[in-house]
C-alpha cells in the first residue's frame, strides 16, 4: 500500500464525504447512487463543479505517441487490455516491492560490481539524469488503478502520432538533444527546466509520470484555479470573459483565460515564453515550442470521479498541424497533494555539477599525461 495513501486516507475520506455533500444542491436531496447528479454537480453560484483533487495516474503506461503497429486503432482489444491489466498490477507490485530502487543507475552499478560485471552504461531519459536518476523509494511511485483502453495519449491526428516538425523546430530539437546528451555537462543549463526545478509547464504538469500526478481544482465566482503538486505550479484562470494579457507579458505557464461551454471548462492559454519548454513529458519531451503556442484545454466532468481532459496544441512554427491529447483524470480515495519543495531540496544539481567539474579535471590530467 502506498505509504502516503496509508497516512492520510482516513482524514481525506472524511473530507471527501463532506465535500460531496456540500457539492450537492441543498434543496434536492440526492441519493448516493445517483451518479448522474454528481457528474452534473453545480457550485452554489451555478457553474459546473469540477472541484477536488484529481490525478492522471490511470493513463500511466499509455504511450504518448501510438506505436505504429496499431495504425489508426485508438483502443485496445480485450486481449491487449488483459495484457495491460498485468502491467498495471505489475507496477503496483513494483511500487510495493521497493519501486524504482531497482531501476536506479546507482543501484544497478552497485549490483554489477557485486556480480563482478562491468557497470551498465549511464541511462538516458527516464531514470537518466537529474531528478529522474535519483533512486525513487517505492512509496513515492504512482500507478494506474485500472487499465486504460487507449493505445496512445495523442488522439488526433488519427494515427496518434505527432505531426511532422517544421525544419526550424527540428533544428531546435536537435540542438536541445545535443545539449542534454553532452558527456560532461558544462552548466545547469544542460538540464531540463524540470531538473532545474523551474517548472514542467502546462502540458508537463498533467501528463502522467512516475509520481506526483496530482492536481487540485478550486473554484470561486469568476475564477477557476488549478494547482499541480509537482514543482508546486499554479494557474489562476479568469472565467469572466476578460481578454488575454498584453503579449509583452510572457511566462512559462502562459496566460490562461477560460469560459464554460455547457458543463465543459474551456481554457485557452497563450503568452508563453518560446524556445524553452516542450509539450511533452515533464515539459522537456519533444521539440521546444515557439512563443506562438496556443493551448486549448477542455475539462468535462463525466462521472462523480472522472473528468475528461483534452488539450489541443496549436503552434504552426513548431508543428505542421494541430494535434490533440486526451485522457481522463480521476478522483481516488486517499489521494492528496503534498508540498513539493523541488528547488529547495535540489541537492542533485549541485552534486551533478560538482561531479562534472571533477570529470573535467580527470580529463585534463589524462590529456596532460598523454602528451
Amino acid at each position: 500500500m502506498n505509504q502516503r495513501i496509508f497516512l492520510i486516507s482516513g482524514a481525506l475520506a472524511a473530507t471527501m464525504t463532506v465535500a460531496t455533500l456540500a457539492g450537492q444542491t441543498a434543496s434536492a436531496p440526492v441519493s448516493k447512487a445517483d451518479s448522474k447528479a454528481s457528474a452534473n454537480a453545480k457550485t452554489p453560484w451555478g457553474d459546473p463543479d469540477i472541484q477536488g483533487t484529481w490525478t492522471s495516474d490511470d493513463t500511466w503506461g499509455v504511450p504518448f505517441e501510438r506505436p505504429k503497429n496499431f495504425g489508426t486503432r485508438a483502443t485496445l482489444t480485450e486481449d491487449e487490455l488483459k495484457a495491460r491489466q498485468k502491467t498495471v498490477s505489475n507496477s503496483e507490485e513494483f511500487v510495493e516491492t521497493g519501486g524504482a530502487n531497482a531501476h536506479s543507475p546507482a543501484v544497478a552499478a552497485l549490483e554489477a560490481k557485486e556480480k563482478g560485471e562491468a557497470p551498465p552504461a549511464a541511462p538516458q531519459g527516464r531514470f537518466g539524469r537529474g531528478v529522474d536518476s535519483a533512486p525513487v523509494p517505492g512509496h513515492w511511485g504512482e500507478f494506474a488503478r485500472r487499465p486504460s483502453h487507449q493505445t496512445s495519449q495523442i488522439v488526433d491526428p488519427p494515427d496518434g502520432r505527432l505531426p511532422a516538425l517544421t525544419p526550424e523546430a527540428q533544428a531546435k530539437l536537435d540542438a536541445k538533444n545535443k545539449l542534454r546528451r553532452e558527456a560532461i555537462p558544462a552548466s545547469y543549463t544542460n538540464w531540463s527546466y524540470y531538473d532545474r526545478c523551474i517548472t514542467r509547464g502546462v502540458a508537463g504538469s498533467i501528463l502522467p509520470v512516475i509520481y506526483g500526478n496530482g492536481l487540485e481544482i478550486v473554484q470561486t465566482p469568476g475564477y477557476v484555479a488549478i494547482r499541480y503538486e509537482m514543482v508546486h505550479d499554479v494557474r489562476i484562470i479568469p472565467t469572466d470573459g476578460r481578454p488575454h494579457l498584453s503579449s509583452n507579458i510572457r511566462s512559462y505557464m502562459g496566460d490562461a483565460v477560460g469560459h464554460w461551454e455547457g458543463k465543459t471548462l474551456v481554457v485557452e492559454t497563450t503568452n508563453f515564453l518560446g524556445d524553452r519548454m516542450a509539450v511533452g513529458v515533464n515539459g522537456d519531451g519533444g521539440a521546444p515550442y515557439s512563443e506562438d503556442l496556443k493551448l486549448t484545454e477542455r475539462f468535462t466532468r463525466v462521472s462523480p470521479n472522472t473528468v475528461n481532459y483534452e488539450m489541443i496544441v496549436d503552434d504552426p512554427k513548431t508543428y505542421t498541424a494541430t494535434w490533440k491529447v486526451a485522457f481522463p483524470i480521476t478522483q481516488e480515495p486517499g489521494y492528496q497533494l503534498f508540498e513539493y519543495a523541488c528547488h529547495e531540496g535540489n541537492m542533485a544539481m549541485h552534486n551533478m555539477l560538482s561531479a562534472a567539474r571533477m570529470e573535467d579535471k580527470k580529463a585534463a590530467a589524462g590529456s596532460a599525461a598523454g602528451k
Binding site: 492520510i8 473530507t15 478550486v218 511566462s251 503534498f338
Partner: protein, 273 residues
Amino acid sequence: MQLCIKSSNCMFLAATCAAVLFSMIPAAAQTAAPRIPRMADGKPNLTGLWQAMGTADFDLEDHSAAAGPFYQLGAIGAIPPGQGVVEGGEIPYKPAALEQKKKNFANRLKEDPEIKCYMPGVPRAAYLPYPFQIIQSNKDILFAYEYATTNRLINMGKRQEAATDTWMGTSNGHWEKDTLVVDVTGFNGNAWFDRAGDFASDSLHVVERYSLLDANTMNYEATIEDPATFTQPWKINVILYRHREKDARLLEFKCVEFTEQLLYGDLVRKPSK
C-alpha cells in the same frame, strides 16, 4: 403593502424601504459594519489580489534607513526605513535565539531563503513585496503567491494534522464571525520572517487572522508561538490592500532561474583561455 403581489417584489420593496429609512439615520449614529463582499453562504469573500505595503519584509521591527549590501545598486539597493509591525515593538527572543538572528543577518547573502528563491513560509508570504491571489471556494481556500509560485490550500473541512514538515506548513482554517482564522503547524523551520534574519524553529505554530476592514482592505494578524525560540507568543499586524487596477492579475515570478548563477555558478565550466 398593496403593491406587493409576488413575494420577491415584497422583499424588494421591504429592502428599498429599509434602505430609505436607514439613509435617514444620521451617518454618525450608524454603527453598521462596512459593506464587504460576501459568498452565497454569507461568509466574507476574500477572493482577490492582495498585497501589503510597507517594509515588514525588510525588518518586522522598527528600523532606520540603511545602506544595502551592494554599493553598486545605490538608492535601489538601500533599506527603506520602517515602523515595525510587531505588537509591543520587539520580538521576545530567547538569548541564544537572538544571537542566531544576528548571525543570520550577518550571513544573509548566503542564508536568506528569499535570496535563494526558497518558499517564504508563514507569515512571511503575507507581506513579501509581491501580490498574492486568494481564491475562496465554497469548500477550501487557495492562497497563490506571486513570489516563487508558492501556494497553499487552507483546509476548511475537518482538521487535518500535518503529515510531514514543510516550508509552508499545514493550514487548517475556520471562521470566527467574519474573521478567517488559519491555524498553521508542521513547519520545517527553514523559513525566515524577513531580510533582517528573524526566524523560528520547526516547533513554530502560527495562527493567522484575516478580517476585511472594508471591501478593499484587510487586517492581517499573526500570532507566533515557538517555545524553542521565543520567551512568549507574539503578534504582528499588517494591513493588506486589494489591487484595484483594471484587470490586475497575479503574474508569474519563477525566480529559481534568477538564482542559479548565484547557487551553482562556481561549478559551471569556465571558458578555456
